[in-house]
Amino acid sequence: MSLNRNDIENIARLARLELAEAEIPVYVDSLTRIFDFVGELDRAPTEGIAPMAHPLPGLAQRLRADEVTEADAHERYQRNAPRVEAGLYLVPKVIE
């Protein structure tokens, strides 16, 4: 399979990644090669085989009771935030 410039721009948009102009041909080339490589999977006979999402047989994701177990620590967490005011994360205006 062969990807083109439009494909890469579309994937980057979906992934919310701004690419520099010089990066685009690099990813056109390397993603094309990656998808050629993973295309090998087509030759594996998988009719009737269940998809495997968990690596341990018979185990699924454990759930817990929906109870409050953590204390409020938002000030501590927000020390890592690029912009905070009055306990709120600041972002550019969303609604004009």
């Binding site: 890469i8 994937i11 980057a12 948009r13 979906l14 992934a15 919310r16 990644l17 701004e18 690419l19 520099a20 990066e23 690099v26 990813y27 390397s30 993603l31 090669r33 990656i34 998808f35 490589f37 993973v38 295309g39 090998e40 999977l41 087509d42 594996a44 998988t46 085989i49 269940a50 998809p51 495997m52 999402a53 968990h54 690596p55 341990l56 047989p57 185990l59 994701q61 454990r62 759930l63 817990r64 620590a73 501590r76 967490y77 020390r79 890592n80 935030a81 690029p82 912009r83 994360y89 972002v91 550019p92 205006k93 969303v94």
Partner: protein, 488 residues
């Protein structure tokens, strides 16, 4: 190079500390001197925490004086920079997290601290653990102490280089597709990736959540047993943590190997394996036969599909996990965003390096409408076939042995332009991650002056048997005690 450590292994250092031959503060000073001296050559550390290490060492000495010392009290270690440490920055090798100071400790960081170990600092790694050569780190490549023109392997390259150069007696590490075992092999040290769910992943920055597992890089299997005992166990904070008792790994080390059934995976020896590396692997297998193990060939016919399977599953999970880096709550944020989409896209475009972006885009594509069945579901089905191959093999053998890596360490820059060539470094290690199995790599000699690693793969939760088999080999040989001359 600064003065060498008084003993090479955690086990021997623990005995030296217990006997009062040196204090934890003296030992920590000796390690820190070596860490500082090796940093310009190896670049193994991203952050060195000298002051905190000396304070922890003083606390360890005080605990010993008060009669409260445990078996690991005062032993210096270092953490891969993927594990969150409160009050010390945690970068994951990325510009995205260059200034991130975690509000909490990873569970294994707390457990190892509670066991009395002293943390020397945070080790370099491939960015977000995505790489097999440690060349994708935002903080520069790590160099292999056996030949500083060569890579240490990855993604736990800093962990492997630090232990190989005897600057940290042991290091934590993580393994999603071979990131503990491959650098352990390339640096001539011991590495263990436990069973999926055996060790808590709380506070370990996520890459591919159905594959990631925390483990160790050490000089010896005995050291790995001592430290794994302190790290492993159920953690309610990790929803994939398995609630099953932790055996006494150290107590199981000496069991004889007579009657051990060893399988050699035919597909691991078919093509691509360097001839001199294969010779070392065959010699190691002969040692196991001498110890009473019975060796037979087994076949895992779907295993050759493990690399393409992984490069669908892992990028898919990575694209989802790394969606959290949005420039809003933590991490890099671009200057003067025009709107919210611009904030997301430029923060991520600037904060992530080339390989991370490649994997996010690969994963985004395989999960996108119209391609999900063809790529993602198909790969999940092949994963089931690979897992079934292993299960069938373990009906007739106790352990699988084979190479860890197809070659010895390659030169820095040799594979950076071709992602597929780089990805194929993990051809022998990825299968264990897809099936959730424990794996190890132990040093078994040299090819062209560079270390060769033997891989052991066991059934789920067979760490005790695997460590036992590795330890018995290390009682017969001294490859694990060889250190690079430049760092002796």
């Amino acid at each position: 190079m600064a003065q060498s450590l008084p003993e090479p292994t955690v086990a021997a250092l623990a005995r030296g500390l217990a006997a009062g031959r040196y204090s934890a503060v003296e030992l920590t000073r000796a390690c820190l001197a070596r860490v500082e001296a090796a940093q310009p050559q190896l670049n193994a550390f991203i952050t060195i925490t000298a002051e905190a290490a000396l304070a922890a060492a003083a606390a360890a000495d005080a605990a010993r004086a008060a009669g409260r010392a445990g078996p690991l009290t005062g032993v210096p270690i270092a953490h891969k920079d993927i594990f969150c440490t409160s009050d010390v920055r945690t970068t994951c090798g990325s510009k995205m997290l260059a200034n991130f100071v975690s509000p909490y400790d990873a569970t294994i960081v707390s457990k190892l601290a509670a066991a009395g170990t002293v943390n020397l600092g945070k080790l370099n790694m491939d960015e977000f653990a995505m790489g097999s050569s440690n060349e994708t780190s935002h903080f520069g490549p790590v160099r292999n102490p056996w030949d500083t023109a060569r890579v240490p392997g990855g993604s736990s390259g800093g962990s492997a280089a630090a232990v190989a150069a005897r600057i940290a007696p042991a290091a934590t590490a993580t393994d999603t597709g071979g990131s503990i075992r491959q650098p352990a092999a390339l640096c001539g040290v011991t590495g263990i990736k436990p069973t999926y769910g055996r060790v808590s992943r709380y506070g370990m920055i996520a890459f591919a959540s159905s594959l990631d597992q925390a483990g160790l890089i050490t000089v010896s299997a005995e050291d790995a047993a001592l430290l794994l005992g302190a790290m492993a166990g159920f953690d309610p904070r990790d929803s994939t943590s398995v609630d099953s008792p932790v055996p006494d790994y150290a107590a199981a080390l000496d069991a004889p190997l007579a009657g051990l059934r060893i399988g050699l995976v035919r597909e691991f020896f078919e093509k691509g394996l360097d001839a001199e590396c294969e010779a070392r692997i065959r010699e190691a297998i002969a040692v196991y036969e001498k110890l009473g193990a019975r060796v037979q060939e087994v076949s895992c016919p779907n295993l050759p599909l493990s690399v393409p399977t992984y490069y669908v599953v892992a990028p898919a999970e990575c694209s989802s996990n790394l969606a959290r880096f949005d420039g809003v709550r933590f991490g890099h944020r671009c200057e003067s965003p025009r709107n919210l989409t611009d904030l997301y896209s430029r923060s991520r475009g600037e904060g992530f390096g080339a390989e991370v972006k490649r994997r996010i885009m690969t994963g985004t594509y395989v999960l996108s409408a119209g391609y999900y069945d063809a790529y993602y579901l198909k790969a999940q089905r092949v994963r089931q076939l690979i897992s079934a191959d292993f299960a069938r093999a373990f009906e007739s053998v106790d352990l699988l042995l084979g190479p860890t890596s197809p070659t010895t360490a390659f030169e820095i820059g040799a594979k950076v332009d071709d992602p597929i060539t780089m990805y194929l470094n993990d051809i022998y290690t990825i299968g264990a991650n897809l099936a959730g199995l424990p794996g190890m790599s132990i040093p078994v000699g040299f090819a062209g002056g560079l270390p060769v690693g033997l891989q052991l793969i066991g059934p789920h939760f067979s760490e005790a048997r695997m460590l036992n088999a590795a330890h018995r080999y290390q009682l017969e040989t001294d490859w694990h005690l060889r250190a690079p001359a430049a760092f002796a």
